[in-house]
Symmetry: C3
Subunit: 273 residues, 3 copies
């Protein structure tokens, strides 16, 4: 089933508008190209909505938000809603500063999102309006584990019901939920947390999946999460003695570039509840 | 003949001021170092002209233009003209939004460019004042082909006559023209379009070539285009099973780093009309 | 002795707030993760101090400073001082424009730095209030050599006495000094100057070392310089025929990722005066 999601990206080459942070923006552009999409980045308020209107989907990432890009995010998000295009929110660092938490809240109030992807701290900050976040990496005490899985699913489905968005919480175990169904995904590799941008790249790729699979946002988001996790496993398996996170990053993009629908189908490790 | 162009870059190590987008800026800096130049990036209006005045050349790329960088581009461009330094324009996404098309037009009005490099959609948008652009990648319907080659050359030479700039239109077939001569270049590899920044990197490198070859801008621009295309071929030829666009990107920079004048002379695939 | 400095970074995983340039920001984030730290980037004045307050240390790099990030740098620096957290200054391009020289001076006036790292031109510009800088790379005429070593140490120790900061001047020979002691370090490889960001990455990594070794800033700074130089040597030794600066960059991050305390102890090449 995930196979079609991937193949739709490759055949449709969705053009995705990204308003994203400058730390990982190059990785986001490269992952979009590698998965079969096409990226455009534009974050000035004077053109954000215009660019959105020529794109198939929109990816908003608040990683290095500022006074110029915040209005651009709002304008682009509203335009995407008007045009009926998928919009994804990656609330990087929500909870780490009032500006981030407030901006994420403002986006949630004014834009209707197709999907929201973050780590558990960020999603909690968004959901609860506040949280303790340790920088941009997940608060370890708040990780999703086998022990708190049921509770975590309830939390994510609740939040999905309130927002109308597919909620993707990624970490060692990944959850992708709408109000009715939950994908529990066990792909991935710890090495993904040793490079910057694996979360941002996943969000950018998920936006491409959502754009090429308009009618199946839950499956599209789950396919993107499985694909990134599986590619992390593949990239790691190719590392040789003396290679580390620098080579891993190139290998991860290679794996996304090379991944076929059949490989995704075979390698995806998930259950649906 | 192209050999000297490359060797002049290696021996002079031209310092190039780049006002460019934050998506591919790291690749631009690395390609400038790899080809033998030296990069400096500065885009605040309060220092742009000062930085231009200590550099050998200027590369203006409107990829993620904003209200702060647009006046910096204008100030730097005018300063480069005053100082008699080469200036290159890469009108990324011209035609994709009014802001980009207007800014590119404003730059053309106020700055005299040594060279303008873009894909065919961007150059058309610039030349015609408007166009339909599909994001930042070339509109396929508008590609330069063997069938429309004569017409494309006439178009490029016309635009060169109007602007005084060398016009470089890159794609499957590349054209580099001044009002009298046209280089038709058939180097390159499709993989170059599967990474972000191959166009931006070419523009940065071309600015270094123009700076180190002040008296021969047409040949300098053509040499840069041949070099980047040839390096794309070399990078692709080194890829192994399971490698893709991530490794290709590193290999491309490697190839530029390693390329000698003799290899460029042998590998360049062009005709002059 | 350097071994403990490295191991403290790995065991404490210091969270470092970076206000840095967009050219090499991705490399800075990746090197922080590779060495065992954790990065966060935030440069809007409305959140800079908030982010600083949740981090262990702060890295200020003026590489692409602008009207929005300058106040963020000042606010974050003051907050770090209030909270008693280590702060590092990388005065990229100081001396290249009045804006850079003045901003660096303003930072020095208003913020108490734990360490300042730059090339000899930048540190001279900072110390003397002005200098001739050739872009962001060191002015060769001003390099530290065996011949001017004593004079260079006196200069660095003077500047350390005036600022209270550890002064790290990096180049072919690296100096790391406080007012009493000087580490003269001879690790490194010329290839480090053929990629962008080796200086910025060193500063980011040094901030992590300072944060995890609060009581020994001089040794921490020296350990970071030795580690980066040694990793440059290791990365170069792994290059194969046809590989260049693109692969070197990945290999450098690999080497930082893989480096153990024992390897650092064995490979560090320094004397203390």
């Amino acid at each position: 089933m995930l196979k079609e999601q991937l193949e739709n990206v490759r055949s449709q080459a969705p053009l995705v508008h990204n308003i994203t942070n400058y730390v990982t923006v190059n990785d986001c552009a490269n992952i979009l190209l590698a998965c079969g999409g096409s990226p455009i980045m534009a974050d000035d308020p004077a053109e954000a909505a215009d660019i959105t209107s020529i794109c198939g989907g929109l990816n908003i990432n608040i990683g290095t938000l500022n006074q110029s890009t915040i209005p651009a995010m709002l304008a682009a998000g509203k335009k995407a809603n008007q045009c009926g295009r998928p919009v994804l929110l990656d609330p990087v660092g929500a909870g780490a500063s009032p500006l981030r938490t407030q901006t994420a809240g403002q986006l949630l109030d004014q834009v209707s999102f197709t999907a929201i992807r973050g780590n558990v701290s960020e999603i909690k900050a968004l959901s609860l309006g506040s949280a303790t976040t340790r920088g941009v990496d997940a608060d370890l005490a708040d990780a999703i584990t086998e022990d708190n899985l049921d509770e975590s699913i309830r939390f994510a489905q609740d939040f999905s019901a309130r927002t109308g968005a597919v909620i993707a919480i990624t970490g060692v175990i990944d959850l992708v939920c709408d109000r009715q169904q939950a994908f529990i995904i066990r792909n991935g590799h710890p090495m993904l947390s040793r490079i910057t941008g694996s979360g941002c790249m996943l969000s950018a790729m998920m936006a491409a999946y959502l754009t090429a699979n308009r009618d199946t946002p839950l499956a599209a988001a789950a396919a993107a999460v499985c694909a990134m996790g599986l590619c992390g496993e593949i990239a790691y398996s190719h590392l040789k003695e003396g290679e580390g996170s620098g080579t891993f990053r190139s290998r991860l993009i290679d794996a996304v570039y090379c991944l076929s629908g059949d490989e995704l189908e075979r390698g995806a490790n998930y259950e649906v509840r």
